[in-house]
Amino acid sequence: MIKRSTFKSGYLPYLLILPQILITLTFFYWPALQGLSQSFFLSDPFGRSSKFVWFYNYIELFTDPLYLKSIVTTITFSIAVATVSITLGLFIATMANRALRATALVRTLLIWPYAVAPAISGILWLFLLHPSYGIVALTINNWFGTEWNPVLYGKDAMIMITMASSWKQISYNFVFFMAGLQAIPKSLIEAAAIDGASPFKRFWAITFPLLTPTFFFLSVMNIIYSFFETFGVIHTVTQGGPGGSTNILVYKVYQDGFVGLNLGSSAAQSVVLMSLIILITFLQFRYVEKKVQYTG
């Protein structure tokens, strides 16, 4: 799209778009191409020689039980984070929307964890869930009679990174659900109330269906968040351990590429991640078109 009335100038528009294009070319297109080509080569760790090997890296990757395990870990983790943070965000937003008083104060109290870096959220939860000092860990032990130890047990480590990653996302989801709730016309709710629908019935029959666009959108955003931005959580809290049980895909790219110096495999993993996010973006755009019809 473009304006009906436009300016005419020979070189100015090129000059204005140039910085953006230059940076995009240098730090996006060139590295992406580089990554794509690297994924077809097998090179020694010092980069002295490399050999064209077709899809060897990809075949290696998808027959590597560690990589397959990492895929399962990532999916489990992202579904867990999305479920926990969306449920809590929706719940708190619904309550805050019902409350008549102090909505501004409530918003202030709920909004700030958004500004906390994932890595810092990781540190806070590392303390809360520390096997010997953590108060939440001790409470879990008392209630369930288990021996909580995220340093030893993979399941506990997974719960720990899920909590650290979800906590921060609650406020993000809260903001969007709040906006979604306030966009619902009061007349709809009132009409249902006059017809005798109880508050719960109204929520499930009117509010919730009208929130589905927000809901889908947040699912996508939370999954992307747990795929990529949680790197900081993993790096500070578990480093992928114990025994690779929290080694999500993006952390594996880093480990194999930077620590293990397996360039071909790391590049192939990057390409897989890239394809994945292109797919998600595509789905997202399909859905955005639908959203317009919903809210109209």
Binding site: P13, P19, Q20, G35, M95, T108, L124, F127, V250, M274
Partner: protein, 306 residues
């Protein structure tokens, strides 16, 4: 409220308070821990009454973590990313929306394709790029065997190596992260809603494109800019993977990454009071920005994701 539901209302407020407590608990608890002396913080369970060691712990954290330097680095990085992103995407969107030129669609499409492709999916090649910005040129140089040519000219062997590294520099921390399709889109969407008449009137009055941009478009975009400042500052300050890769010199590390060194490991003294005190100080700037600019923040967050 539509009908009177006193019981439900009470539960609403109770659940709301529980919700706020759950969200606030990690911070409250860590703040208390940051006020305690070492022997209290390692007690099981930790006492919930704040101690009097707050300043001592903070001072210790500040010097041990070299926080002054690191928070400064984070500030430079966050500010650089914010200013850079907003500037280049605003003029870029201006070019796409207000000018008709041959490569317009291509320019738009090439920016569009980078949407939602975070640095995380192409870390290694981007790192190599930053390690030597002239790498592609060097490749060209080698392919064309220009070394031989130069040597032939000079009459003796000359090894030309093109090298411009961004590692351990502020440019390296900021530049690769300021290409953003989302910001360009936000400005594009906004510019499209600006009435056509404004541009027509400006043209009739003989204003040049840049005068129109400066005198009309920029003032109109102020709230959008404010919203983006909050979002991008938080984004830049909280970056993790990129600064981790690009800085090896401890003096260039950002605060969020530096915190890692303060976490007590298995064999260390369990000085969680110091580690958490440092965490509190490091997270303070973005939290303050979000809280003080809350209105724009909410607007920016929602507009940006549309």
């Amino acid at each position: 409220m539509i009908e009177k539901t006193p019981i439900l209302d009470i539960f609403t407020y109770i659940f709301l308070m529980v919700g706020i407590l759950i969200v606030g608990f990690p911070i409250i608890y860590s703040l208390i821990a940051a006020t305690l002396p070492l022997e209290d913080v390692s007690k099981v369970p930790m006492p919930l009454i704040p101690g009097d060691q707050f300043m001592v712990n903070m001072k210790e954290a500040w010097t041990r973590g070299n926080l002054g330097n690191q928070i400064f680095n984070s500030f430079i990085m966050a500010t650089g990313i914010t200013v850079g992103k907003i500037t280049i995407s605003m003029i870029g969107a201006f070019s796409i929306v207000y000018f008709d030129y041959r490569l317009r669609v291509l320019a738009f499409a090439s920016v569009f394709c980078t949407l939602m492709l975070p640095v995380e999916v192409r870390i290694l090649p981007t790192y190599e790029m930053a390690a030597n910005l002239l790498g592609p040129l060097q490749g060209l140089w080698d392919v064309l065997h220009l070394n031989g040519l130069v040597s032939w000219f000079a009459g003796h062997d000359i090894e030309v190596s093109l090298n411009w590294s961004l590692l351990d520099s502020y440019t390296g921390l900021t530049l690769p992260l300021i290409a953003s399709a989302t910001c360009t889109f936000l400005f594009r969407q906004f510019f499209l809603t600006v009435p056509e008449e404004l541009c027509e009137a400006a043209k009739m009055d003989g204003a040049s494109p840049m005068t129109f941009f400066r005198k009309i478009l920029f003032p109109l975009s102020k709230t959008n800019i404010a919203a983006l400042i909050v979002i991008e500052f938080v984004y830049g300050y909280n970056q993790y993977l990129w600064p981790l890769l690009i800085t090896t010199n401890p003096d260039m590390t950002t605060a969020v990454i530096g915190l890692q060194d303060l976490i007590p490991q298995a064999d260390d003294l369990p000085e969680w009071n110091v580690a958490l005190g440092a965490a509190m100080m490091v997270m303070l700037p973005p939290v303050l920005v979000v809280l003080s600019m809350q209105r724009w923040f909410v607007k920016g967050l929602i507009e940006k994701e549309k």
